[in-house]
């Protein structure tokens, strides 16, 4: 990896250059909640001032810029009782900036499923390859447990990654694209002092995490498959799917087709779905393989912490705890995992 430093004014120049050349998505404050806490979303921005890189966490992950909640997989033109299929992939490049390590790690996990060696998704790959990613380091967010799932640092999956050193950013460069873009402004070679400051900054961040006991979790998932833990938490689940919508790694979906009212056009629409919704595993004829809340809730955790682990040797979860924050019923991974760890311990 190559490293450079960028003074804050030069960073602003860089952002202005990007804003002048392409669409830029960045964390932006959209308001405050009832307790006066700021709410942030990743949104398209026009001005440098709209960007808030000091944000703690966005309500929604950056996922939907790669896996939109709704996406046309193909369209269809009907004529004389015949049809032709049309498919378009995303072509326009854009910048997605201000991503924390959890969101970048989430993209790396999605890459494994959606850009791997079994039926790689052209829709995902097109969006991924057309997105220039600038990440940034930050202190742990409340309730987050990214360090416990190894998602607090990133070594790839971005173009540029910033660490705030006060008057300047320490910039990790992970692609030729990133290098070329950075060279448009006055980036400096790193000095011994820069390296020292960077390592200290990382140390400060690392010291602030509270570890969550993830020991032996995949096996625990199997052993506690019939556990009361699932009944207790499952009873609370509203089956609303909010957790999976805000989750940076949940990628499940459903496909639905539409016809225009004049009958001339059709569309095959992919809609991100949620394994917590009642009919997720229902088949034609009426049988539902996961008819109760408890099994659906368990399935989501099982997929994240057991199934994905089995295939890719890492959990699907990045510890951002967005699902825990959004859940009205207060269902959250740290508590569930703690309960699983202690359920059968004397």
């Amino acid at each position: 990896m190559l490293f450079k430093t960028l003074s804050k004014p030069e960073f602003r120049n860089l952002v202005d250059l990007l804003l002048g050349s392409t669409e830029v998505i960045a964390p932006k404050q959209i308001g405050v909640n009832n307790d006066g806490k700021p709410l942030h979303h990743y949104l398209p921005v026009q001005e440098f001032e709209e960007i808030d890189l000091e944000y703690e966490i966005t309500e929604y992950s950056a996922k939907s810029y790669f896996l939109p909640f709704r996406e046309n997989l193909s369209s269809c033109r009907f004529e004389d009782d015949d049809w032709t299929q049309e498919i378009h992939y995303r072509l326009q490049p854009r910048v997605l900036m201000g991503l924390h390590s959890c969101d970048i790690n989430a993209l790396l996990k999605l890459d494994k499923v959606l850009a791997g060696d079994r039926f790689p998704s052209p829709y995902f790959i097109s969006r991924r390859r057309n997105t220039f990613i600038i990440g940034i380091d930050h202190y742990p967010c409340e309730g987050g447990f990214c360090q416990s799932v190894g998602a607090d640092v990133v070594t790839h999956g971005f173009d540029l990654y910033l660490t705030d050193l006060g008057d300047r950013y320490f910039v990790a460069i992970n692609s030729d694209h990133g290098y070329n873009v950075l060279m448009q402004v006055d980036a400096k070679d790193t000095t011994g002092q820069d390296n020292k400051d960077y390592l200290e900054a990382r140390q400060r961040i690392a010291s602030k995490f509270e570890p969550l006991n993830m020991h032996n979790l995949p096996n625990l998932m199997d052993i506690e498959f019939e556990s009361e833990v699932w009944k207790r938490w499952g009873k609370k689940c509203l089956s609303c799917g909010s957790c999976t919508m805000v989750c940076p790694t949940c990628y499940c979906y459903g496909v639905d087709e539409r016809v225009s009212m004049d009958g001339r056009e059709g569309a095959k629409v992919k809609q991100l779905y949620s394994c917590n919704l009642l009919d997720f595993a229902a088949v034609a004829g009426g049988h539902n393989f996961r008819a109760d809340r408890e099994t659906r809730l368990k399935y989501r955790y099982y997929h994240q912490h057991r199934g994905f682990m089995e295939t890719y040797e890492e959990p699907l979860c990045v510890g951002c705890n967005r699902c825990g924050r959004v859940c009205l019923a207060g269902i959250n991974p740290p508590e569930i995992i703690r309960d699983l760890q202690t359920e059968d311990q004397v």
């Binding site: 250059l17 990007l18 002048g20 050349s21 392409t22 997989l73 193909s74 269809c76 009907f78 009782d81 015949d82 049809w83 299929q85 498919i87 992939y89 072509l91 326009q92 490049p93 854009r94 499923v113 060696d117 079994r118 039926f119 790689p120 998704s121 052209p122 790959i125 097109s126 057309n130 220039f132 070329n180 873009v181 448009q184 199997d222 498959f225 990628y251 499940c252 979906y253 459903g254 496909v255 639905d256 087709e257 539409r258 016809v259 059709g266 095959k268 779905y273 394994c275 997720f280 595993a281 088949v283 034609a284 004829g285 393989f289 996961r290 399935y299 057991r306 199934g307 994905f308 295939t311």
Partner: protein
């Protein structure tokens, strides 16, 4: 305005220019491109099931299309939906494929209305297959309940076409009532021409029914099983698997010599949508054909 970032166009990739072939799992890029196909014939099997003969329109694509017994395709009625259907015809047959479809949901209902000549879409083949090549030189038990005969028809054709490769072949088939029996016009052919021992039972007979009445497991009483040289292929409702497979285990057949085909809802067929997951195993990628030992290890499979 400076062009800082350059657009990436996936359609310019070499892989995507290759002819559409779903057997190239790792390199296929146009994953949602369908083979435009024509329903060339519709055969009414029962009140609820019809057999559709479907031909891929493009000559080279049709030539290239190949599948193995037990695999499925995604059938699309553009504008209305797409569903997984197992292929019911012979893998060696090149002109068209046969799909046995029960009227159950939205897409199947509209398909049942379609007329001969209707253009539909096909993607596939997808999924695992019955490892029939491993069964060479052995006895084969093909056990089906209800609609389960549809996916079994592909291995049955394979066995018929390669009859000398196998020893004794039994088909045990059960449905709820006589009017629900599928493909009854072929039974005589299987029995007389292919030397297959076919046993049929129904749960509830009617006035005209002269055959057996009972459960599918009853049919097993009439078969002499040599466990060391027998393979079993089982297809039907989940509750049937347990009974039949437990029985076969008692007879001494190894669990990894019994193969079942599981049914799940699928929205992609490619290990993405997660709708068919059992625990966290994709039925569309690791299945639909599993050996029984694997099934036992899947949480909530049957």
């Amino acid at each position: 305005m400076t062009e800082l970032l350059h657009p990436y166009d996936i359609t310019q990739e070499a892989d995507i220019m290759q002819p559409l072939d779903f057997n190239r799992r790792s390199r296929l890029k146009h994953v949602d491109r369908t083979f435009k196909s024509e329903i060339i014939n519709i055969i009414r099997l029962t009140e609820m099931e019809k057999l559709f003969q479907v031909r891929i329109l493009d000559d080279t694509a049709r030539e290239r299309f190949s599948f193995r017994p037990g695999q499925f395709v995604m059938v699309e009625v553009p504008g209305y939906g797409e569903i997984p259907i197992s292929i019911s015809s012979s893998p060696s047959h090149k002109g068209f494929i046969e799909l046995c479809i029960r009227k159950a949901g939205l897409v199947t209902t509209i398909l049942h209305k379609a007329r001969r000549g209707a253009p539909i879409g096909i993607r596939g083949p997808f999924g695992t297959h019955f490892p029939i090549e491993k069964m060479r030189g052995c006895n084969i038990l093909l056990i089906a309940g209800g609609l389960g005969l549809a996916p079994l028809r592909a291995p049955i054709f394979h066995v018929i076409e390669n009859r000398s490769n196998f020893k004794d072949v039994h088909i045990l088939y059960g449905t709820r009532q006589p009017s629900m029996l599928l493909f009854n016009y072929q039974y005589e052919e299987w029995d007389r021409i292919a030397d297959i021992d076919l046993k049929v039972t129904v749960e509830h007979g009617d006035e005209s029914w002269t055959g057996q009445v009972g459960m599918i497991t009853d049919l097993l009483d009439e078969v002499d099983i040599a466990p060391k040289e027998t393979y079993a292929i089982i297809c039907g409702p989940p509750v049937m698997f347990k009974f039949v497979c437990n029985r076969l285990t008692k007879e001494g057949i190894q669990m990894n010599r019994m193969f079942v085909s599981l049914e799940r809802r699928m929205h992609c067929g490619m290990g993405k949508c997660c709708r068919c997951n059992i625990g966290s195993t994709y039925t569309c990628l690791s299945g639909p054909v599993f050996d029984y030992w694997t099934v036992l290890n899947l949480k909530e499979a049957i």
